[in-house]
C-alpha cells in the first residue's frame, strides 16, 4: 500500500505491507533510528512517538492506518542546534544511563506536557508509567520533567 506521512515536518511517501508497524517504518524505511524498539509489545514505551500531537506506542501501530498523519520523533524536537527544553533538562539532570529508553521518555514527556494533566510529582510519575527505564534513572527523569513542567530546579528540591 502507498501512504503519505508527515514526519518531523517532511512529507514522506511510502509503499509498505499492511503488517508494517509505524516503528519499523520509521527505523527501517525512513532510517530514523532515534525511536527505539524495546519490548515490541507496548510494555516498555521505548517506541513512543507523537502522532498528530498525541503520544502513542509506535510498535502497536500499523503505519497504513496513519496515512496523512503528522508524526514527531525524537529527531524532530530540536530547533536546529537548539535542543528542546526537555532534551536540555535530561542532560542537565543526568536523566539516563544507557540511554536506550531516553527518546521514548522524552517524546512521552512532550505528550505529557501537551495533555496538561500533570501538576504534581505524583501525577508526573503516574502519567509517565508507560515508559520503563531498566537502568532505574527514574529519580533524575522525574527531576528533568518536573523542571520543565513546574519550573523547579529539580532533584535537590524534590520531596521523596
Amino acid at each position: 500500500m502507498t501512504i503519505t506521512l508527515h514526519v518531523n515536518g517532511v512529507e514522506r511517501r511510502l509503499s509498505l505491507a499492511p503488517w508494517t508497524t509505524l516503528l519499523d517504518a520509521l527505523r527501517l524505511h525512513l532510517d530514523l533510528t532515534g525511536t527505539k524498539k524495546g519490548c515490541d509489545h507496548g510494555q516498555c514505551g521505548a517506541c513512543t512517538v507523537l502522532v498528530d500531537g498525541r503520544r502513542i506506542n509506535s510498535c502497536l501501530t500499523l503505519v497504513v492506518m496513519k496515512d496523512g498523519a503528522q508524526i514527531t520523533t525524537v529527531e524532530g524536537l530540536a530547533q536546529g542546534n537548539a535542543l528542546h527544553p526537555l532534551q536540555q533538562a535530561f542532560i542537565d539532570h543526568d536523566a539516563f544511563q544507557c540511554g536506550y529508553c531516553t527518546p521514548g521518555q522524552i517524546c512521552s514527556a512532550v505528550g505529557l506536557i501537551a495533555e496538561g494533566k500533570a501538576r504534581t510529582a505524583d501525577e508526573i510519575r503516574e502519567l509517565m508509567s508507560g515508559n520503563i527505564c531498566r537502568c532505574g534513572a527514574y529519580t533524575n527523569i522525574l527531576a528533568a520533567i518536573e523542571e520543565v513542567i513546574l519550573g523547579k530546579s529539580g532533584a535537590s528540591e524534590r520531596a521523596a
Binding site: 499492511p18 507496548g42 498525541r54 503520544r55 502513542i56 501501530t61 500499523l62 508509567s129
Partner: protein
C-alpha cells in the same frame, strides 16, 4: 506477524458487510491488544478492517439524561471528558487505573470491552489453552495461576477479564449498542461478557458479524459516593490482582442504593446482586460491608498460587465500600490507600 490484507470501512453498514463476507477478518481500531496478539501468533486474521474512519467518536447527551459514548472514543479522551469527570467519575477513575497514557491514547471504548485475557498460557502457543484452541485443555489450573480467577471458573478455563473500565461500566449498568447483519440491538452490560463454562473461546455474546457502535450510560452516576480501588503488583501500569468499582447512595448513615463489581477475579466483571441487596437499607458500617464480602466470596475457590486473592478480595470489598461511603474515592495518582 502473519501476512494479512487490509481494507477501510466507509460506514457502519460497510463494516458489517465486510466482516460478514470474510470469516477470517477482524476489525481494528486502537489495535493495542490485537496487534500484540497477532505478533504472538494468537490471532491470525486474514484481513484487518480499519474502522477508525467511522463517525463513532462522539460523547453525546441522551434524552433520558444519560450519555452515549461512541465506540471509537479513545480511553484517555473518555477519562478526561468533562461530562464523565463530573457525572461519572467512577468511570474516569477506572480508565485512568488501567494501562499507560500512550495505550489509553490509542485504545478505543469498544475495543476495551473486546480485549482478551492476559493469561500467560493463552499467549504461549506452545502450551494447551482451551480459550485459544478449543478442546486442548487448561494449563493454568495446575500451572502458574497467581493472576487467575477465583469466582465463576470452570474446569476448562480460569482466565480473568483484564479491563478496569469494564468493571466501572458493570456498576453503572451501561448498555452496549451493536450493529450486525440482522440489524441493531442493545445488550445489558451484565449480559455482554460470558462465563467460561465449556466454551471459554467465547469472551462475549457479540456475534461474528456484529460491531460495537456505542456504550450508553444511564443517568445514575454515583458521583458523590464512589471509588475505584485497584490492587496490583506495582503501583502503576499493571493488571489488577483484585480491583473493585463501587457506587453508593446514602441517606445519612443508611445505604439506599449499592452497586459494586470486582475486577481481576473472574472471566467478567463480577457483580453479586444478593450482596448488593443485603446492603440496601443497611447502615454503612464495616460489619455490614464484611457481611456483603462474605456473600460475594462464599463460592470463591483458589487454585494454589491465587489462593491469596480470596482474602485480598474480602479486604478490597470492605475498603472500597468504606471509601465510597466516606466520599473519599481512591486517587489514581497518589497511591496511598485510605
Amino acid at each position: 506477524m502473519n501476512n494479512f490484507g487490509y481494507s477501510r470501512a466507509n460506514d457502519v453498514a460497510d463494516a458489517v458487510r465486510q466482516v460478514a463476507a470474510d470469516p477470517g477478518a477482524k476489525f481494528i481500531a486502537g489495535g493495542t491488544n490485537l496487534i500484540d496478539l497477532i505478533k504472538a501468533h494468537v490471532a491470525r486474521p486474514s484481513r484487518l478492517i480499519d474502522i477508525t474512519h467511522l463517525p463513532l467518536d462522539k460523547v453525546e447527551e441522551r434524552s433520558d439524561a444519560g450519555l452515549r459514548i461512541g465506540a471509537l472514543v479513545p480511553n484517555s479522551d473518555l477519562a478526561y471528558h468533562p461530562q464523565i469527570e463530573a457525572r461519572y467519575p467512577l468511570l474516569s477513575s477506572a480508565i485512568l487505573a488501567g494501562a499507560s497514557q500512550q495505550l489509553r491514547n490509542m485504545a478505543s471504548t469498544g475495543g476495551n470491552l473486546l480485549q482478551r485475557t492476559r493469561c500467560l498460557y493463552f499467549y504461549d502457543t506452545t502450551t494447551p489453552c482451551t480459550k485459544r484452541e478449543p478442546g486442548s485443555g487448561c494449563s493454568a489450573i495446575n500451572g502458574i495461576n497467581r493472576m487467575h480467577a477465583i469466582l465463576g471458573t470452570s474446569e476448562h478455563c480460569i482466565a480473568t477479564h483484564p479491563s478496569d473500565m469494564c468493571v466501572a461500566l458493570a456498576v453503572l449498568e451501561a448498555r452496549v449498542l451493536v450493529r450486525g447483519s440482522a440489524g441493531e440491538r442493545s445488550i445489558a452490560f451484565a449480559d455482554f461478557h460470558r462465563m467460561p463454562g465449556d466454551a471459554p473461546h467465547l469472551d462475549s455474546n457479540l456475534r461474528a458479524d456484529e460491531i460495537i457502535t456505542a456504550i450508553e450510560l444511564p443517568p445514575k452516576g454515583f458521583a458523590r459516593n464512589y471509588t475505584y480501588l485497584k490492587v496490583r503488583d506495582r503501583l502503576s501500569y499493571a493488571f489488577a490482582l483484585v480491583s473493585m468499582a463501587a457506587g453508593l447512595e446514602l441517606e445519612g448513615e443508611t445505604i439506599r442504593e449499592a452497586r459494586f463489581a470486582l475486577g481481576g477475579v473472574a472471566h467478567k466483571p463480577w457483580r453479586n446482586t444478593a450482596a448488593e441487596a443485603q446492603l440496601r437499607g443497611a447502615r454503612a458500617t464495616r460489619e455490614n460491608f464484611a457481611r456483603a464480602a462474605d456473600t460475594v466470596l462464599r463460592a470463591a475457590r483458589g487454585f494454589g498460587h491465587n489462593d491469596f486473592k480470596i482474602e485480598l478480595a474480602r479486604r478490597v470489598i470492605v475498603r472500597a465500600l468504606t471509601q465510597a461511603a466516606r466520599g473519599t474515592p481512591q486517587s489514581q495518582s497518589d497511591k496511598r490507600i485510605n
